[in-house]
């Protein structure tokens, strides 16, 4: 592999890694508070991409507006899922997980009759290429990095500097104690669902102009996000960010050298070894 190819893989890895980070952050946030894994995250990513397809490409609304709309719509969907699934089963982990799995298969399968069986494509939003360290990269892929960074920083500020963020951290530490201090646990859990869903929608909306769209498109990013949160430690936000960067880079470099399938298999073997020798991940608390 030449050094130019290496630089190119690294930059592309950074932009793919940013997408993975957006996916993993919502997952790890929801896990930290409710001890659930949102299996529907991949389906929400898919819906985020389809919002861009219809609102931006078909109806001609500006990309930024379509992007914000995707986050708002699916964020509202997240609150609805908390209200109609998580709350009625009284926070039972197993029923929630199974219901989220069923929601995933429902959204994926419904995608075929609703969106059609043919792959969809969204035309590029940002055209042209840029020269980065001597290699040319498409602006489309480069732009993912700052947009994702803005979202990550906003999430950080939201969690650490606002009252609602403080309520989220309180629930993460001790749900009962938070409730006793006057935190409305149901509403804040709903907010976590909304934030997680909105971030997944943002990831899908960013990838829409780059990859082809089909109802199953969310499966790969979801599995990648699983690997990242195991790598970074379940519930750890810095872990998710670092894990996302590492996996993005490995993924892009190994995939360029060997192909996408071996890259996935390699990361799976790596996770199994990690669980054997360092089960808490890079930043995790004791499991």
């Amino acid at each position: 592999m030449t050094s130019a190819l290496l630089v190119q893989s690294a930059v592309i890895g950074l932009s793919i890694g940013s997408i993975y980070i957006l996916m993993a952050l919502g997952l790890t946030l929801m896990f930290g508070m409710m001890h659930i894994i949102n299996f529907a995250h991949g389906a929400i990513y898919m819906l985020g991409a389809f919002v861009i397809y219809y609102v931006y490409f078909q109806w001609g609304v500006p990309y930024v507006a379509a992007f914000v709309l995707a986050m708002l719509l699916l964020g509202a969907g997240g609150y609805l899922v908390e209200r109609s699934i998580y709350r009625p089963v009284k926070g039972g982990i197993e029923p929630t997980l199974v219901a989220l799995l069923a929601l995933t298969t429902l959204l994926q399968a419904a995608g075929y009759p609703v969106f059609g069986t043919l792959d969809k494509h969204v035309p590029p939003v940002f055209s042209g290429t840029r020269n980065v360290l001597g290699v040319t990269i498409s602006v489309e892929r480069l732009m993912i990095i700052p947009i994702a960074a803005v979202l990550v920083v906003s999430l950080y500020v939201f969690i650490n500097k606002t009252r609602m963020g403080a309520a989220m951290r309180a629930i993460e530490q001790d749900k009962e104690a938070a409730a006793l201090q006057g935190v409305n646990v149901n509403v804040i859990n709903g907010l976590a669902f909304a934030v997680g869903f909105a971030l997944a929608a943002a990831a899908g909306a960013l990838m829409a102009p780059i990859f082809k769209l089909d109802p199953m498109m969310g499966e790969q990013p979801l599995l990648k996000a699983f690997i990242i949160i195991i790598l970074g430690g379940l519930g750890s936000i810095p872990g998710a960010i670092l894990g996302g960067l590492i996996l993005g880079l490995i993924d892009s470099i190994v995939a360029t050298a060997l192909g996408a399938e071996p890259a996935f298999l390699l990361s799976f073997v790596f996770i199994i070894l990690l669980l054997l020798f360092r089960p808490t991940g890079l930043f995790g608390h004791a499991p």
């Binding site: 399968a109 499966e219 399938e261 199994i272 499991p287």
Partner: protein
């Protein structure tokens, strides 16, 4: 075995009906029911793991391992069906041990995520190992099942083979569930820290429940391979794994019959649109409705209806101390 005479009588009637199906139904029904039996093996073999409180979302991967192992041994090396089936099941159980050992010692969600990723890993291996598996072109020409050197060429004989395999698997699983081992599994599922404090090696018993399930999923896969005679990697993906879980939850978690009822009910009802997105939509909606409105699953339905009937027919409302 079953406690009441009524249950025993019902079982005998069902068994007699199943045994006589070849005399009344055509090949289509034999084919359909053989697939239902395969689904019941898959569904019931997930139960030990679920009883321990482990959400295995990767059962189809072990079916896939059993199917390809048995098919390739029979097709390429001419291994007899009885042996190739056993090899497929043993390999599935061995892989289950290797995957379960690192992930079952941790919190349940780790295991759930690892199994989901494993389904994808196995599907990818089956798709890209083209020289062995023919990849996404599919593996065709798998030999028909044989028994003691005789090929089971007719649908009727294959139907009886499926029925026999299902009955053996169900009997073994039933005996295990009602043994000391089954009690330990149940105690782990209820409060694993308490079970541990009483001296139960929780991780090992979870591992045993999981790999036993993998073994029987391998049996189901091996039968499926020689019955359908064509293997296609995407069939063993996330969707099938989710369906096996759905059988268990829709049927009901509280009783041994739950996964059997769930698999039979859903596979028969979805038959008109098998393989289309509408099958998945139907399964998912039934699953969500079950979680929200009938958390005990279908096996709780008769009791619930009887309760409703009693309260409707009684002259006074049983209020206050319900």
């Amino acid at each position: 075995m079953p406690r009441s005479a009524g249950t025993a009588a019902a079982l005998i009637v069902v068994l007699a009906l199943l045994l006589s199906l070849p005399f009344v139904g055509g090949d289509y029904y034999l084919y359909l029911f053989a697939l239902v039996f395969t689904n019941i093996i898959l569904s019931a073999s997930l139960r030990p793991s679920l009883t321990c409180g482990q959400l295995n979302i990767g059962h189809s991967a072990f079916m896939c391992i059993g199917a390809y192992t048995s098919a390739l041994l029979a097709k390429n090396l001419g291994v007899p069906f009885e042996v190739s089936l056993l090899c497929g099941a043993v390999l599935a159980a061995a892989v289950g041990l290797a995957i379960g050992y690192p992930s079952l010692r941790l919190r349940g969600v780790y295991f759930a995520m690892v199994t989901v990723a494993f389904v994808e890993a196995v599907r990818l291996i089956a798709s890209i190992w083209v020289p062995l598996t023919r990849g996404n072109a599919g593996l065709s020409g798998v030999p028909k099942p044989t028994l003691l050197g005789t090929t089971l060429a007719t649908r009727t004989s294959q139907y009886y083979l499926a029925l026999f395999l299902m009955l053996v698997v169900l009997l073994v699983l039933y005996k295990l569930e009602h043994s000391r081992l089954g009690l330990i599994w149940k105690s782990i599922g209820m409060v694993d820290t308490l079970a541990q404090s009483l001296g139960v090696n929780v991780a090992n018993y979870k591992l045993l429940a999981f790999s036993l399930g993998c073994f029987f999923a391998g049996v189901a896969g091996a039968f499926y391979a020689h019955f359908i005679r064509f293997l296609f990697p995407p069939e063993f993906g996330f969707l099938l794994a989710t369906n096996i879980l759905i059988y268990n939850f829709v049927g009901g978690r509280g009783h041994f019959a739950g996964p059997i009822v769930g698999a039979a009910f859903l596979s028969l009802l979805s038959e008109p649109f098998r393989g289309s997105p509408y099958e998945t939509i139907f399964f998912s909606i039934v699953m969500l409705a079950t979680i929200l409105f009938l958390p005990g699953g279908l096996i709780m339905l008769p009791g619930k209806l009887a309760g409703l009937w009693r309260s409707a027919s009684s002259t006074y409302a049983p209020s206050g101390h319900a």
